[in-house]
């Protein structure tokens, strides 16, 4: 194998061949040719440095914070608040019961706010109709309801 052949083989060669290990013709050439061996070493070294730089290019996460979050969401663990949710509920630490306060505010608004006006025609619920005799099986009740259509009466057994 010539050095020119070796260079082209180095471009695709396995690391072990580039290290001069094994029985391949490339490995054999590299063992005997200092120039091609230096070239192969350079390639492997640059690739190794590339790997290190790739790791360094990506930000290292805060493992403790990450574990906090991961363990909260892990199946089978108690459903505690996540760190993000925890931040949102920090008012509890100051003795403010947020959820009961919110519920109370909603009730006050509901009863003091008056009847809300809704769009559209008002709905008239069906009226109970008297005078229609209905036999009901023992143990059951029935309601007779008139509708807006005078030809239709609803019998409700319950």
């Amino acid at each position: 194998m010539t050095c020119s052949d070796a260079v082209h083989r180095i471009l695709e060669g396995d690391p072990l061949d580039l290290q001069g290990h094994g029985d391949s013709s490339l490995a054999e050439h590299i063992r005997t040719c200092p120039r091609c061996r230096a070239m192969a070493e350079l390639v492997l070294e640059e690739e190794r440095r590339l790997g290190i730089q790739m790791v360094g290019a990506v930000e290292v996460p805060d493992l403790d914070q990450l574990l906090d979050e991961a363990l909260e969401k892990r199946p089978g663990t108690s459903p505690k608040t996540t760190s993000r949710e925890h931040r949102g509920l920090q008012f509890k630490r100051f003795g403010l019961p947020l959820i009961p306060l919110a519920a109370a505010a909603a009730v006050v608004t509901l009863f003091l706010g008056g009847e809300p006006s809704l769009p559209g025609d008002s709905y008239a619920p069906p009226q109970r109709t008297a005078g229609l005799g209905v036999e009901v099986p023992e143990g059951q009740n029935a309601a007779v309801l008139a509708t807006n259509n005078p030809d239709i009466t609803v019998l409700w057994f319950f």
């Binding site: 050095c3 471009l11 695709e12 230096a38 070239m39 990506v58 403790d64 574990l67 991961a70």
Partner: protein
């Protein structure tokens, strides 16, 4: 000469403790697998910013799913399978390509400035150019194959399982990636090859 990269699995006892929810063991495990995960995330996304987000999601997934690891494959093979699935989901969920190139340029500049304090400016630029070549000129599939094979020492069948590729396709992608990168390396060292390379 340095030995070829070979990834040794984490200690099985450490994995077992982590599976039982031992926080200290989980932390040690995350520290151990952190570099290959971050490296792989960059190879997959081609963007340091997205890779950072992705690696965090991978860690979260690892903690949640570690109990499903049965020891049938090497831990890293299982891990990368899990992380790749997450990566695909992540890529679908977020379209952050528009920020990619600007961020990459900034990051490469930072690497040139801060890495290898003893290296010359020429060395730093050369390495920065190599990473840029890796990220910008290689298709994502070739980057993944190269990272898993050359930098993590996984075999073609193992990579085939992770990437859902036939081993022969893994090999083909690996050879293409090697050729592109090594050509770039050798072009930067013309003293070695100017009489050989076209």
């Amino acid at each position: 000469m340095k030995s070829p990269p070979s990834r040794i699995d984490p200690d099985p006892i450490l994995i077992e403790k982590a599976q039982q929810g031992d926080r200290k063991a989980l932390r040690s495990l995350l520290e151990e697998v952190g570099p290959p995960v971050r490296q792989w995330a960059l190879a997959h996304t081609g963007d340091p910013d997205s890779a950072s987000d992705l690696s965090q999601e991978v860690f979260l997934l690892l903690v949640r799913k570690i109990s499903s690891y049965r020891g049938e494959a090497r831990f890293l093979t299982w891990l990368f399978t899990v992380t790749r699935n997450q990566a695909l989901e992540d890529t679908r969920r977020r379209g952050r390509q528009e920020k990619k190139m600007n961020r990459l340029k900034i990051e490469m500049e930072r690497i040139r400035e801060t890495s290898n304090p003893g290296a010359t400016e020429v060395d730093r630029k050369r390495l920065g150019d190599l990473i840029t070549t890796f990220v910008q000129e290689l298709p994502a599939r070739q980057r993944e194959v190269f990272q898993l094979s050359e930098l993590q020492g996984l075999s073609s069948p193992e990579i085939g399982v992770i990437l859902e590729m036939a081993p022969v396709s893994v090999r083909a992608a690996l050879l293409k990636a090697r050729r592109s990168l090594r050509k770039k390396i050798l072009e930067q060292h013309t003293e070695f090859v100017e009489e050989y390379l076209p």
